[in-house]
């Protein structure tokens, strides 16, 4: 509830308020992106290093439709997950044939393939200049856009929770826990993983489309493999075996970045180093992330 009122408080703060609205909108979008990845990472147990492909597919769908075809925003935003799902269906069809490390590398290969295509195709995608100046309706002020993102996020959130708790979600978790056994009890493992991959891809597409509208540009960086690592980091920091963990992780990381920027300008210069150190610490000492840490502390105080 507080999240709904937040922008109207912030907008009274003038410029800094506007900045924070922008930041929180980005948090929401990245939270959605991270949660979409976690459908395959945490729940499916498939390490994908190419999730940016679908994020970028959504981003470029919105950018191209609105800039070049003049499609209204609502339609473009609806098209983003569809296009992303199609990409995920094609890429996933190949990828689910592999497991473990090979799956990770193949997703990486495909996302880089897509990245290079977008990068080289100047006439269509603008190459490394990206697509700028995407029109946004006038009534859509930052605080309304924030609300729009929030509503979409909540909708996706509920949808994803429904998926995770459905029998489909349980099957996916069964496959994660024991693939051999899942095969023995007659589950078509590949098809479930493929469907899961498509679902995760389409939610990533929504996130990509939203970020494009927030920035009013789409660029190749959205598709680069280092972008695929962002939701993995968020999931890891937040805790990837919990449903909300990735969202918390994404928000925490963005907040930390902005906070360090406010604290000292020089800190954001070395942000990647800080991020790397955080990641090292999490990998080595707290593999279950913030949520795991919280649970551990909470359980300790209870007993």
């Amino acid at each position: 509830m507080a999240l709904f009122v937040l922008p109207f408080i912030l907008v009274r703060l003038g410029r800094t308020g506007e900045f924070w609205i922008w930041v929180t909108t980005e948090m929401i979008i990245m939270a959605l992106f991270s949660m979409s990845l976690n459908l395959i990472l945490g729940f499916g147990g498939m390490v994908s290093f190419g999730h940016a492909a679908f994020f970028g597919a959504g981003a470029y769908t919105v950018a191209l439709l609105m800039k070049k075809a003049g499609v209204p925003m609502a339609l473009a935003l609806l098209a983003a997950p569809v296009v992303a799902a199609i990409c995920a269906a094609v890429i996933g069809w190949f990828c689910v044939r592999l497991i473990g490390l090979y799956f990770a590398i193949l997703t990486l290969a495909f996302s880089q393939l897509l990245y290079m295509i977008v990068f080289q195709w100047y006439t269509f995608t603008g190459g490394d200049d990206g697509i700028h100046g995407i029109p946004r309706p006038d009534w859509l002020t930052p605080e309304y856009y924030y609300l729009l993102c929030l509503v979409i996020f909540l909708f996706c959130f509920l949808l994803m929770r429904m998926i995770v708790n459905s029998s489909f979600g349980l099957t996916i978790r069964t496959i994660r826990e024991n693939m051999e056994r899942a095969k023995f009890i007659g589950i078509n493992v590949r098809r479930y993983q493929w469907l899961n991959f498509i679902i995760a891809g389409s939610f990533a597409g929504v996130a990509g489309g939203l970020l494009t509208l927030l920035n009013r540009f789409a660029q190749t960086e959205f598709l680069h493999w280092s972008r695929s690592a962002d939701p993995i980091l968020a999931s890891l920091v937040g805790g990837m075996y919990s449903f909300v963990g990735p969202a918390i992780g994404a928000a925490a990381l963005i907040f930390l970045k902005i906070f360090s920027q406010q604290l000292h300008k020089g800190l954001v210069e070395v942000w990647a180093i800080i991020l790397g150190l955080i990641l090292l610490a999490v990998v080595l000492f707290a593999p279950s992330g913030l949520v795991g840490l919280y649970q551990r502390l909470f359980e300790k105080s209870k007993s």
Partner: protein, 313 residues
């Protein structure tokens, strides 16, 4: 941000009035082979480390980049462009990278050998973030150039074609490294231990061999190769912040094509990628850079364990 380094691949054919297509093709072929050899030197390190440690090291590209920047710094300290400084670089920079590798191996990598792949990948990715940013802080974002020694700066006349001497030089270094690695792996005790550590690490340990030391040495060898590649590359094209990220993905392509852990496979994969990118520039221009990812995806779909690899247990 990381961008593909185009200059490293686009090479200008020799000037001449009667540049025939065949001549250009041969010219491109040789340059492509040189690119491939450079790629092999780097990728062989990655594949060796994977073979013994079972860790895919994202940071390998960063080691390569540090090697290149180190070459730049050392060449400004020494008299850049002289043969002696070039030789000093070749002797000093790669071992320096190996030393960095040594400390990282004993402090970090050793802790995650028994963990799942995701943890290992993320550990090395964390290193990429840290190392790449450190490089930016230390050396800044401007592209750097290192002068070639006079002996290797000009061009040589081979079959009526003017080939850059340096490319021919790399073309010679590649096979030397390949033969050296083969000799090391198959004809020395250290190599025997490494190969044993690939297949039967536990048995090797119970025979009284210090397996973690074998792993550390392999890792250092891998880093040394990355550093060597960096030094060689620094003299070939300009060094900038994107080269690490770009090269590690190319190395992935190579290693995947050849088969994870196979040195022979890495050689073949490197040549396919190097020649492929260069030759395809004639008909496709810049689109040729899509080639490695295409081949990588293709091999993974058809034969996931690579041309020379073995199916995963």
């Amino acid at each position: 941000m990381a961008r593909p380094n185009l200059e490293a691949h686009i090479l200008t054919p020799g000037r001449g009035k009667d540049t025939m297509t065949i001549e250009i093709s041969v010219f491109m072929m040789i340059n492509g082979l040189a690119q491939g050899m450079l790629l092999f030197i780097i990728a062989s390190g990655l594949t060796l480390v994977f073979g013994v440690l079972r860790v895919i090291n994202f940071a390998h590209g960063s080691f390569y980049m540090i090697g290149a920047y180190l070459a730049f710094s050392l060449s400004t300290l020494l008299t850049g462009g002289s043969l002696s400084s070039f030789l000093t670089l070749m002797l000093v920079a790669p071992p320096a990278i190996a030393v960095i590798g040594f400390f990282l191996e004993i402090s970090l990598f050793r802790k995650v050998y028994r963990e799942e792949h995701l943890v290992q990948l993320l550990l090395t990715y964390a290193l990429v973030l840290i190392l790449d940013d450190l490089v930016r802080v230390i050396w800044g974002g401007d592209p750097r150039n290192v002068m070639r020694p006079a002996l290797l700066a000009g061009s040589v006349d081979i079959m009526g074609m003017q080939l850059p001497t340096y490319n021919v030089f790399i073309l010679a270094v590649g096979p030397i490294v390949a033969v050296g690695l083969w000799y090391l792996l198959h004809r020395t005790r250290a190599g025997n231990l490494m190969r044993a550590a690939v297949t039967y690490p536990d048995t090797l340990g119970s025979l009284g061999v210090n397996v973690s030391w074998v792993m550390t040495s392999t890792f250092m060898l891998g880093c040394w190769l990355a550093g060597l590649g960096g030094v060689l590359m620094a003299h070939l094209a300009s060094v900038d912040l994107g080269i690490g990220m770009e090269k590690i993905i190319e190395c992935f392509a190579v290693v995947v094509i050849g088969g994870l852990g196979s040195v022979v496979g890495a050689l073949l994969g490197s040549l396919i990628i190097g020649v492929g990118i260069t030759m395809l520039q004639l008909p496709f221009g810049r689109w040729a850079l899509v080639f490695p990812y295409f081949v990588m995806a293709l091999v993974l779909v058809i034969r996931p364990w690579g041309l020379f690899g073995k199916p995963e247990r």
